[in-house]
Amino acid sequence: MRENFAQWETLFLLNLKRDWKKIIVWILGFGLFSAAFVPAFKEIAKGNGLLGMFETLQNPAMIAMVGPTPVGTAVDYTLGAMYAHEMLLFCGLFSMVIAVLHVVGHTRKEEDLGLTELVRSFQIGRQANSFAAIMQIVFINLLLSLFISVVMISFDAETISVEGAFLFGASVGIAGIIGAAIALVMVQIMPASSSATGSTLGIIGLLYIIRAGTDVSNVDLSMLNPLGWTYLTYPFTENNWIALVFALIFSLIAVVVAFSLERGRDMGAGYLPSREGRESAANSLLSVHGLFIKLNRGTIISWLIAFIVMGAAYGSIYGDMQTFLESNEIMKQMFAQADVSIEESFTSTIMMVMIALVSILPIAIVNKLFAQENRAYLSQIFATKVTRSRLYWTSIGLAIITGAAGILIAAGSLGGTAVSAMGGRSTMEIADFLGSGFNFLPSLLFFIGLASLALGWSPKSGKVVYVYLAYSFLLNYFGGIVDLPEWFSKTAIQSWIPRLPLEDFDASIFITITLMSIALIIIGHFGYNRRDMIEGA
C-alpha cells in the first residue's frame, strides 16, 4: 500500500494549489450553468407553458436529444420536472467531459511530458499521482454538487424540492466521477495522452448516442448505460437515488481496474502496442499538404466515423415518428395546422445540432497549426523555403474540405438511414437532407473564419472559437424551447440561417455569410504573415 500511494496527499494539495483558479471557474461557472436557469424556466412555465413543453418533449426526436421524463400526464409536469428533463442530461454530459480532460491532463499528460519521472524519484508512491488526481475529481465534484444544490434551493421555487435539488447536484457530480473513472482506465490502456483523451470522449459520445436510441425504444435499457445513471435519477419527480448507487459502484470498479492496470505497466507505456512505422517517407507525405493531412489523419477519420454513427442514430428515429404522431392527438393537430410533416420539423432541428458538431473538426484543424507552432514542431519548416502563406492556406483549405466532407457524411448518413427507416411512407428524399445540411455551410465557414482570424492575430485565443460555437449552439438549442429576444438569439451565427426544409432557402444570407467568412480568412492571413511566431509559450 505504502509503496503505491505514499504521499498522495502532498500531490493532492499541490494540485489544488496549481489548479485553484481553474477549480473556481469550474465550480462557479459550470455550477451556475447547471443551476441558475431556474428563473428562466419559471418564465416558460407561465400560462400554458408547461403543457406545451410537455407535449413538445414527447416527440421522439426531442427525447433522443434531451432524454425522457417519468411524468405520464401534462398535469404532473411541474417546473422541477421540466428543469430536470431539459437540463440534467446535458449538464451530466458536460460534467463528464470536463472531468475527463482534467484527469488525463493530470495523469498521462504529465507522464508524457516527463514530470512524473522526476516526481517519482522522491518518496512518492508509484500510483500516488493517479490517486491524487481521482481524489481531486471527487473533491471538486462534491463541492460542485453542493454548490448546484444550494443555488437551486435558493430560488425557492415550489416544485424544486430540497431533496430533488440535492439529487440534481449529486447527479451532475457523479457524472464527473464516472467520466474520470473511464478516463483513468483509458489512460492505462492507450499509448499516449492524446489517444487516451480521444478514446474516452469517443466512448462518452457513443454512450450518448446509444442512450438516444434506448430512450426512444425502451427506457429500461438506458438504465444499463453509465450515462443513464445520471439523468435517470429523475430529480423532483421520482427522486431515484438508486441510480447513483449504480454509478458509484461502477466508478469504484473502474478505478480499481485502472489501478491494477497501472501496476502492470511501465511509466510511459500503454497496453496497446505502438506499431512500427515506415523506414522512409511515402511520396504522399513529402509536401506541406501531405504532411498536414498525415498529421490530422487520425482526427479526421475518427470524427468522420463519429458523424456516420451520429447520422445513423438520429436517422433511425424517423421510423417511429408516425407511430408517435398517431398516438398523440395534440401534436397531430399542431403539425396539421402548421402544414409541415413531423419529419421535416425534426430534420431542421437535428441538422442544426449535427452541423454544429461537424464544425468542431475544421476549427480543430485550424487551431492545430498554432499548436504545432507553439510546440516548435514547425521551427525547422519555417527555416526552409516554405512560406507562411503556404502553411496557412494548406491548413485553411484542409479545414474547408474536411468541413464540407463532414456535412456530406453527416447529412447523407442521416438521410440514408431516415429514408430507409421510413420505408415506403417517406415524404423526404436524400437530396432534402443534403440540402438542409449544406444550407449550414456558411456557418461552418464562419467558424473557420473566426479560427483563422485568431490564428493570424491572437493565436492563443483560438480556443475561444470553441466557446463561441458552444454558446451559439446552446442559444439555438434552447432558442427552440425558450423565447429569447431577437437581438440575443441573433448573436449566434446559425440563427441567421433559415432552417431547411421547414423554411425557404435564402440565397442572399447564404452569400453574405460566406463572403464575410472569406473576408475573415483573408484578414487572418494578413496577420499570420506578419506576426511573430510564438514558440514554447
Binding site: R2, E3, G114, L115, L118, S121, F122, Q123, I124, D266
Partner: protein, 293 residues
C-alpha cells in the same frame, strides 16, 4: 567498502526490443562512477530501474542493500536524482518548485538552496514556463544538490548548461564527493566524467562492455607514441603491439598496446632514441574504441 549500488545481471525488454541484456556494476561508498555509452545503449533505462520507476525483467538491483522496486520509498529518502531533460509545472516558479522538491525529498537545506540559486544565477521568481532548457536544468540541479542524500544519480545533468555553469556543477559535485557521498554520473561530456569519476562503466547495446577504474582501463588500451630514432624508424612497424603506424620524415607516430610496452621500448632503443613521447589514452579514446568496434 560498503556497496551503495549493486546491479547484477539486469535485464529489461520493451515489447520485442531487448533494452538491457546484461548489466552489472557497483557503486561503493564515497565513489563517483561514470556511466557512459552511446545513445540508446540503455543508460536511462538502467537508471529508471534503479529509481523504481520501471520494473526489471530479471537480475538484481539494490541500493543501500534494499531492493529498488520493493523498497523504493525507503531508498528515495536518501537519494537525489536529476534527469537529462527536466520538465516542470509551467505555472509554478522555479523557487516554488525547488522548495516543493526539497519537501518531497524530506532532507532539504535552505541555506544551501539559497547559496546554489546565487551560484547558478537562477531567477527563482520566474514561472517555469518561461525558463530555457538550461534554466530548467538548473532548477533540477539546485533541488538535487541542496538535498542531503547519500547517493546522487545524475542522468546527463549538464545538458543545455553553458560551460561556466558546467564548471560550477563540477565544483559542487566535487564538494559532495569530498563529504563521502556516492555519485552515479551518466554523461556524454567525457571530460566531465574524466575529471569527476573514480570508476567508469561503459554500456553498449544493453550490456556493460567495460568497467573498472580509469587507470585500469587505460592499462588495457593503447598510448599514443611519438618517436624519433637515429636508425630507420620504419622498422618499428614489425614490433608486436604497434598499431596505426604513420611516418613523417624520420618521425613516427603510432599507438602502442600497453601490454607490449616493454618490447616496443627495447626495439626502439636498438635504433637509438632521439625523441620519445607517450600520451596516455583519454577517456574519449577508450570510448571511441568501444563505440566503433
Amino acid at each position: 567498502m560498503t556497496e551503495i549500488v549493486t546491479i547484477q545481471g539486469l535485464q529489461k525488454k520493451f515489447g520485442k526490443f531487448q533494452a538491457l541484456r546484461d548489466v552489472s556494476f557497483t557503486v561503493n561508498a564515497g565513489e563517483v562512477v561514470g556511466f557512459i555509452g552511446p545513445n540508446g545503449a540503455g543508460k536511462s533505462t538502467a537508471i529508471r530501474i534503479l529509481l523504481g520507476i520501471m520494473k526489471r525483467d530479471a537480475g538484481q538491483a539494490q541500493i543501500f542493500g534494499k531492493d529498488v522496486w520493493k523498497d523504493s520509498l525507503e531508498i528515495h529518502k536518501r537519494i537525489s536524482y536529476v534527469p537529462g531533460d527536466v520538465t516542470l509545472w509551467g505555472n509554478l516558479t522555479g523557487g516554488e518548485i525547488i522548495d516543493l522538491f526539497l519537501k518531497l525529498h524530506g532532507g532539504g537545506n535552505k541555506k544551501k538552496r539559497d547559496y546554489l540559486i546565487k551560484r547558478f544565477e537562477l531567477d527563482p521568481k520566474k514561472k517555469a514556463k518561461g525558463y530555457s532548457k538550461g534554466n530548467r536544468q538548473k532548477v533540477g540541479l539546485i533541488a538535487a544538490l541542496s538535498a542531503d542524500s547519500d547517493l546522487y544519480i545524475f542522468d546527463e545533468p549538464t545538458s543545455g548548461l553553458d560551460p561556466l555553469m558546467e564548471a560550477i556543477f563540477q565544483e559542487e559535485v566535487e564538494k559532495i564527493k569530498e563529504t563521502g557521498k556516492s555519485i552515479l554520473l551518466s554523461s556524454h561530456i567525457l571530460s566531465e566524467v574524466e575529471r569527476l569519476a573514480d570508476k567508469v562503466a561503459i554500456i553498449r547495446q544493453g550490456e556493460i562492455v567495460e568497467s573498472g577504474s580509469l587507470d585500469d582501463l587505460r592499462h588495457l588500451t593503447r598510448s599514443a607514441i611519438t618517436l624519433v630514432t637515429e636508425g630507420d624508424v620504419a622498422e618499428m612497424t614489425n614490433v608486436n603491439g604497434v598499431f596505426d603506424f604513420e611516418q613523417k620524415e624520420d618521425q613516427a607516430t603510432f599507438s602502442a598496446d600497453n601490454k607490449h610496452l616493454d618490447e616496443i621500448l627495447m626495439a626502439a632503443s636498438k635504433l637509438g632514441v632521439k625523441k620519445f613521447e607517450s600520451v596516455p589514452p583519454t577517456l574519449e579514446d577508450l570510448f571511441m574504441r568501444h563505440y566503433e568496434s
